[in-house]
């Protein structure tokens, strides 16, 4: 018996130090924790949206509706998997798989805690965006293979939107890369993990960091197809967009991928601007770093839900105009401000000057957007 235990012990040691052990130790938690978070989030979202609309939200399955995700899962798994007759079956099948795959891939470079990062790549941010844009291909595969007008319209909207917003997303992320001087996400977090007194060195606490964070969040909302940028799946216009022809488990996969994408992009925002796993005050560093990461993640998710419960959906032309006429110039100015920040002496003058320039640009661009009719009522020449 003891010999057996010894063998087991040795085997576990060998496993832990091997590549397979590393994979098990690092990858499995990612595959377990984030889908679990997805289940919790669907419930919290429905509850939160309910409260925002003065309703209770789901409260029937289990105490306080806690078993609702379970009920949803059973429902999704037992539903019939319908594939349209005219669909391209292979592509139709691959689309949700690729979508989930790309959603999981990006977690490889996210530093969840001090020690927990699956692949500490030196070009982590680059990998994140590259793997994340696989999602666009998956979306178009879904829209194209279904052979339905609604899916195709949804997919085209999704592509236009995701490509347009990828530019402000990447540009606003660049300021953190510039400040840290590294594309490695581990390095970016380490640069923010120091403290002056009790205050952390988070990038969000600088004017360009705060502006970058807000711009990043706006672009991230659009990138993860969430309200108010949920045109690709606008229920009132194109029913469900690119995944209209999916049911049962494949639909659940799309749903999962969408939420995983939202978590991933929130995790990127946390890493770039909110100091990743680092504690918000120097005297709180004794709390495990992963708790801080997930606390920040949940806070951002709550923000996403809040925004979803507040804002109505944009129109397609408003969406495009907002991206190209407002976000893009603003992110370019912001990139410039973040660039020159280094060349001014530390102090209140630099802080106020930078904030002033950013606010002035924001005000001017916003006024132009409002006056040019970009957000105004559209007059249709032929349809009315």
């Amino acid at each position: 018996m003891s010999i057996f235990m010894l063998h087991l012990h040795a085997w576990i040691h060998a496993l832990a130090s091997s590549a397979l052990g590393h994979a098990l130790w690092m990858v499995v938690p990612v595959l377990v924790v984030f889908p679990a978070l997805f289940a919790v989030t669907t419930l919290l979202e429905r509850k939160g949206l309910g409260r925002i609309q003065n309703r209770y939200g789901p409260n029937r399955a289990g105490p306080w509706g806690l078993l609702q995700p379970m009920a949803d899962a059973i429902k999704a798994l037992t539903k019939e998997d319908v594939v349209p007759e005219a669909a391209d079956r292979l592509v139709h099948f691959c689309a949700p798989v690729l979508m989930v795959l790309s959603a999981f891939l990006v977690y490889a470079v996210v530093p969840v805690s001090r020690t927990w990062v699956v692949a500490p790549l030196r070009a982590g941010v680059l990998f994140f965006f590259a793997a994340g844009s696989l999602m666009e291909i998956a979306v178009f595969m879904a829209g194209w293979s279904s052979r339905s007008q609604y899916s195709l319209l949804g997919a085209m909207r999704a592509l236009a939107q995701m490509i347009s917003y990828e530019i402000p997303l990447v540009l606003s992320a660049m300021v953190a890369v510039m400040a840290a001087g590294s594309l490695s996400m581990v390095e970016i977090v380490r640069r923010q993990a120091g403290y002056s007194g009790i205050w952390p060195h988070w990038f969000v606490l600088t004017p360009w960091g705060l502006a970058g964070f807000v711009l990043f969040l706006i672009a991230a909302t659009a990138e993860s197809n969430r309200s108010p940028f949920d045109l690709p799946e606008g229920e009132s216009e194109i029913i469900a967009g690119y995944y209209i022809e999916y049911s049962g488990f494949k639909f659940a996969l799309f749903f999962l991928a969408e939420y995983l994408g939202m978590f991933a992009i929130s995790a990127l925002g946390i890493t770039l601007f909110l100091g990743g796993w680092s504690a918000p005050f120097a005297f709180l560093t004794w709390i495990p770093s992963w708790i801080w990461f997930f606390a920040k993640l949940l806070a951002l998710i709550a923000g996403f839900i809040w925004i979803r419960g507040t804002l109505p959906r944009l129109r397609m032309d408003q969406l495009m105009r907002f991206a190209w006429e407002f976000l893009l110039p603003l992110t370019l100015c912001h990139l410039f401000v973040a660039g020159v920040w280094k060349f001014f002496p530390t102090g209140a003058a630099r802080w106020l000057g930078c904030a002033g320039v950013l606010l002035a640009v924001y005000w001017l661009l916003g006024r132009r957007l409002e006056q040019s009719g970009g957000l105004a009522r559209r007059t249709y020449h032929f349809a009315e």
Binding site: R51, N54, R55, W306, I307, G309, T310, G366, R367
Partner: protein, 203 residues
């Protein structure tokens, strides 16, 4: 300034969110199976057959005239007239429905059967929880299941039931008066000629 509306909107939804935890009045949802709103008197869902007295077979008002069966738009009523006659609630011999079935799954709650019934024998019930696991037998209601007492009718539609009772009583009174007049001795010719006139005047 751009974004002012967004901030105001976010404040409003936050007020809703937190308010719903502190002010019960905000949450207007009635948690249905446990909580119920009082039934509105004019509510209607599915017809039932009214009977007077204690015995549903003896007191059934329906005389199997089959007008409702003919008028029913989705044709969910099936009536088979009896061969014999039975005394009804008032003691008068009448036909009665040997079979009276209504299909719950077909009925569209239009109330036309109630409107056309000359005997006030069919009325609308307010019970709406008629779901069943047996979609054939459980949804085809026979006359026993359809029969509900006049007291039940008074309970669910008090105003309407009182009016119906008054009308029925007036009609019975009229019939009784006619019968009295017919049975009266011919010696009282003068009052008997005036009696129908007053009765007509009342009608």
């Amino acid at each position: 300034m751009l974004g002012k509306g967004i901030v105001l909107g976010l404040a409003e939804t936050a007020r809703n969110f937190f308010g719903s935890f502190f002010y019960r009045a905000r949450l207007t949802t009635v948690q249905f199976p446990e909580e119920r709103l009082p039934q509105i008197e004019a509510a209607r869902n599915f017809p039932f057959l009214v009977f007077d007295g204690a015995d549903w077979q003896q007191g059934m008002r329906c005389v199997a005239c089959q007008i409702c069966e003919k008028e029913c738009p989705p044709k969910c009523i099936l009536i088979e007239k009896s061969k014999d006659k039975k005394p009804d609630a008032t003691g008068k011999p009448q036909f009665y429905p040997a079979v009276f079935n209504i299909d719950v799954s077909v009925c569209m709650s239009c109330q036309i059967c109630v409107e056309v019934c000359p005997f006030d024998a069919i009325k609308m019930d307010v019970d709406f929880e008629l779901s069943t696991y047996d979609r054939f037998g459980g949804l085809l209601w026979d006359k026993q299941r359809l029969s509900k007492s006049n007291e039940h009718y008074h309970q669910i539609h008090p105003t309407e039931a009182a009016a119906v009772d008054a009308a029925l009583a007036a009609e019975r009174e009229k019939l009784a008066a006619k019968a009295r007049a017919a049975n009266a001795p011919p010696a009282n010719a003068a009052p008997s000629t005036s009696a129908p006139a007053t009765a007509e005047g009342q009608a």
